[in-house]
C-alpha cells in the first residue's frame, strides 16, 4: 500500500440546492500511485476539474474521503489544508495564472516564499527550476513576454518548486499546438516524474495519451473505466 500517493473514496460533490442542484461528482473512488502518470479524461462537464479540486485540497467534498499519508485531508483545519496544498501538491493551472507584475523567476519562487524561505534564497532556488525546464535565460522577463509553451514551463517550474508529491495538470495542452504539447509531456515524463511523485493530468487531448500510465475515464460525475495508457512499461 506504501506506493499509494493518494486514495479517494466515495467522493461526492454537488453544487446548488433543490431543483438547481447539479451533482458534479457522484461517488468516485480511485487512487494515484507514486511514479505514475494518471490521466483523467471524459467529456466536458463530466466533473474532471471538480474531482481534481476535491483531491488537491481546493474544494471540500460533500461526502467521501481523500487519504494522503494515512490521513483524510478534509478532516484537517483549513490552515493545515493550506499547508497540504503548499507542501504536497503542485498545480499547473489550465491558464497558468502567472503573475504579470512579477518577473518569471519571482513567479517560480512564490511557493518557496510562501514556505517562508528567505527571498534571495528562494530566487536562487527558483533559478534552478527554471534551468530544469530550460528557460533560465527568460528569468528576468515578465511572463507575458514569453510564448505559450514557455509560460507552460514557468507554470511547471512553479508547481515543482515546492517539491510536491502530487503534481496536478489541468488541460496542459489545451492552449498549445500539438507539437509543443507533446514536447512538454515528453519533458515532464522524462524530467519531472520520479518514483516519489505522481502526476495527474486532466485532458481531452488524445494525442498525448501515449504518455499516460493509466487513463481514467469519467462521464456524468462517475468513473466509467480504467485503461492502461501507452506509457505503461510493465
Amino acid at each position: 500500500m506504501a506506493e499509494l500517493a493518494m486514495q479517494a473514496t466515495a467522493l461526492v460533490k454537488w453544487f446548488g440546492e433543490g431543483d438547481a442542484r447539479t451533482v458534479a461528482v457522484q461517488g468516485v473512488s480511485f487512487d494515484a500511485r507514486f511514479g505514475e502518470m494518471l490521466f483523467i479524461e471524459g467529456p466536458s462537464g463530466s466533473g474532471k476539474t471538480t474531482l481534481l479540486s476535491l483531491i488537491s485540497g481546493i474544494l471540500r467534498p460533500n461526502e467521501g474521503t481523500v487519504m494522503v499519508e494515512g490521513r483524510d485531508i478534509w478532516s484537517m483545519t483549513s490552515d493545515r489544508i493550506a499547508d497540504f496544498r503548499l507542501n504536497k501538491v503542485g498545480f499547473v493551472f489550465q491558464d497558468y495564472h502567472l503573475f504579470p507584475r512579477l518577473t518569471t523567476v519571482e513567479n517560480v519562487a512564490i511557493p518557496l516564499i510562501l514556505k517562508k524561505n528567505d527571498w534571495d534564497k528562494s530566487i536562487d532556488e527558483a533559478m534552478e527550476y527554471l534551468e530544469i525546464v530550460g528557460i533560465k535565460d527568460r528569468a528576468l522577463l515578465p511572463p507575458v513576454k514569453l510564448s505559450g509553451g514557455e509560460q507552460q514551463r514557468v507554470a511547471i517550474a512553479r508547481a515543482i518548486a515546492s517539491h510536491p508529491d502530487i503534481l496536478i495538470f489541468d488541460e496542459p495542452t489545451a492552449s498549445l499546438d500539438g507539437e509543443t504539447g507533446r514536447k512538454i509531456l515528453d519533458f515532464v515524463k522524462k524530467n519531472i516524474l520520479t518514483d516519489k511523485r505522481c502526476i495527474i493530468v486532466v485532458t481531452h487531448d488524445n494525442r498525448i495519451f501515449e504518455y499516460a500510465d493509466r487513463i481514467m475515464t469519467m462521464e456524468d460525475g462517475r468513473v466509467i473505466g480504467f485503461e492502461q495508457g501507452g506509457g505503461r512499461e510493465e
Partner: protein
C-alpha cells in the same frame, strides 16, 4: 512573512498606473487637509499673540472677553481687590487698545498699543535695539519688529510719529514670538502713557496680569476673582478660550472644518476606489496564491500592507508638499498665517489611517471571499 510582503509590494508598485493614482489621491487629500488645518492653526495661534507675547501666568478679565483683541475695561477697584487675594504675588494692569498713527510721510496706520505696568513693566518684550528703561522717556514707544513692521515704514530708534495728535518717538525695537492676526503693527509703552495718549472710557484696565505664588494657588485665585464678577484664566485657558471662539463662534472654524471634511472625502473616494479596482484586478492573483497554499491570514497581511504602504507614502508626500508650500509662501508673504502643528499632522495621519482601513476592509472582504476553485476552473 517578509517575503509575502515583498510580493505584495511588487504587485502594488509594479502596477505603476494604479499605484500613481493611489498616491496622487492620498497625497492630494493629505495636502488639502494639512493646508486647511495649518491655516487654521496659524490663525488660532496668532489670535492669541498678545497672550503668548506678554506671557503672564494668570489673566483677569471681563467674562465676556473672547479674545485678547477684545477690550472691556474693568474699574480700578478690581486691581486692588485682586492684589489682596491670598496667593497673588503681584498683580499689574495691562492696557491693550487700538490707536491711529500718522507717519512722517503723512500716511495713517492703525496700531495696537500695549501699555505695560509703569513700575514693573511686567510682560515686557525682548529688545533687539535700545534699552527697556528708555520706555520711561518722553513720548517713548517701543515698536515690535514683526511681519507688520514695514507698515510703519521701517522705523528706527529715534524715528518720530504722531499718535492721536501726540508726539511719539521710537526708543527701542522689540522682538516677539508671535505676530498678531489682524495685520496691524504693535507698539509698547507704559500703562500711564497709554491712558494719557489714547482716549479711553471711564474704566481703563483691559486685563490684570497676576503672578501667583505657585500653581496650587491658582484655583483659589480663580474662585475669588469669580466672586468679584470677573474671570481669571491661566495662559493656556485663555488661549483655549480664544481658540474656541474662533473655532465655534466665527465662520472660520466651520468653513475650515467643512473643507477638511471635503478633502478627506475626496481623498477617501479616490484612494478607496483606486484600491478597490486594484484588488479587483488582482483578485485572480490572490485566488491563485490561495490555491497554491497561502493562508487567508497571509492574504489579509498582504492587503493591509499594500493599503498602509500606499497611504503612508501618500501621507509623507502630502505633508512634505504642504510644508514646502507653506515655507515658500512664508518667504513671499511674511504675514502668511499657516502653521503646521503636530495636531494637524496627527489629524491628517488619523484620516489617512481611516482611508487605509476602509480601503483594506473592502479589499480583505473581497479577497477572503474568493474560492480557489473558481481560479482553478478558469
Amino acid at each position: 512573512m517578509k517575503g509575502i510582503l515583498k510580493i505584495a509590494y511588487k504587485l502594488l508598485v509594479n502596477d505603476k498606473g494604479k499605484f500613481a493614482a493611489l498616491l496622487v489621491g492620498i497625497t492630494f487629500a493629505v495636502f488639502l487637509m494639512v493646508m486647511m488645518t495649518s491655516m487654521f492653526s496659524g490663525i488660532l495661534h496668532r489670535s492669541s499673540a498678545t497672550v503668548l507675547n506678554v506671557g503672564a501666568k494668570v489673566w483677569v478679565m471681563d467674562p465676556a472677553i473672547n479674545t485678547p483683541a477684545n477690550n472691556i475695561p474693568m474699574p480700578d477697584y478690581v486691581l486692588d481687590a485682586v492684589r489682596s487675594i491670598n496667593g497673588v504675588t503681584y498683580a499689574v494692569p495691562l492696557y491693550s487698545g487700538g490707536a491711529l498713527v500718522k507717519l512722517r510721510s503723512g500716511a495713517y496706520q492703525s496700531v495696537t498699543v500695549i501699555g505695560l505696568d509703569d513700575s514693573s513693566l511686567y510682560g515686557r518684550p525682548e529688545l533687539l535695539e535700545g534699552q527697556i528703561e528708555d520706555i520711561y522717556g518722553e513720548n517713548a514707544f517701543i515698536v515690535v519688529k514683526d511681519a507688520e513692521f514695514p507698515k510703519l515704514q521701517n522705523p528706527r530708534v529715534g524715528t518720530e510719529f504722531e499718535i492721536n495728535d501726540h508726539r511719539g518717538v521710537i526708543v527701542g525695537i522689540a522682538r516677539v514670538t508671535t505676530s498678531g492676526l489682524f495685520g496691524v503693527p504693535t507698539l509698547y509703552t507704559t500703562y500711564n502713557r497709554a491712558l494719557q495718549y489714547i482716549p479711553s472710557t471711564r474704566f481703563t484696565t483691559a486685563f490684570i496680569l497676576i503672578e501667583p505664588k505657585n500653581t496650587t494657588a491658582i484655583p483659589y485665585i480663580k474662585q475669588q476673582v469669580k466672586a468679584l464678577g470677573y474671570e481669571a484664566l491661566t495662559k493656556d485657558e485663555f488661549i483655549q478660550k480664544t481658540s474656541r471662539f474662533y473655532k465655534y463662534q466665527t465662520g472660520v472654524g466651520t468653513n475650515v472644518l467643512i473643507m477638511t471634511v471635503i478633502s478627506f472625502i475626496v481623498g477617501l473616494c479616490i484612494s478607496g476606489q483606486t484600491f478597490y479596482t486594484f484588488i479587483l484586478e488582482n483578485l485572480e492573483r490572490f485566488g491563485a496564491l490561495k490555491a497554491i497554499g497561502a493562508k487567508g491570514r497571509e492574504l489579509v497581511y498582504m492587503i493591509l500592507f499594500q493599503a498602509s504602504f500606499a497611504s503612508l507614502a501618500g501621507f509623507g508626500l502630502g505633508i512634505g508638499l504642504a510644508c514646502l508650500l507653506i515655507t515658500v509662501a512664508r518667504l513671499r508673504m511674511p504675514s502668511y498665517a499657516a502653521m503646521t502643528t503636530y495636531t494637524d499632522i496627527g489629524l491628517a495621519f488619523i484620516m489617512v489611517l481611516i482611508i487605509a482601513g476602509i480601503s483594506s476592509y473592502i479589499g480583505v472582504r473581497k479577497v477572503l471571499k474568493i474560492e480557489p476553485f473558481d481560479i482553478f476552473r478558469g
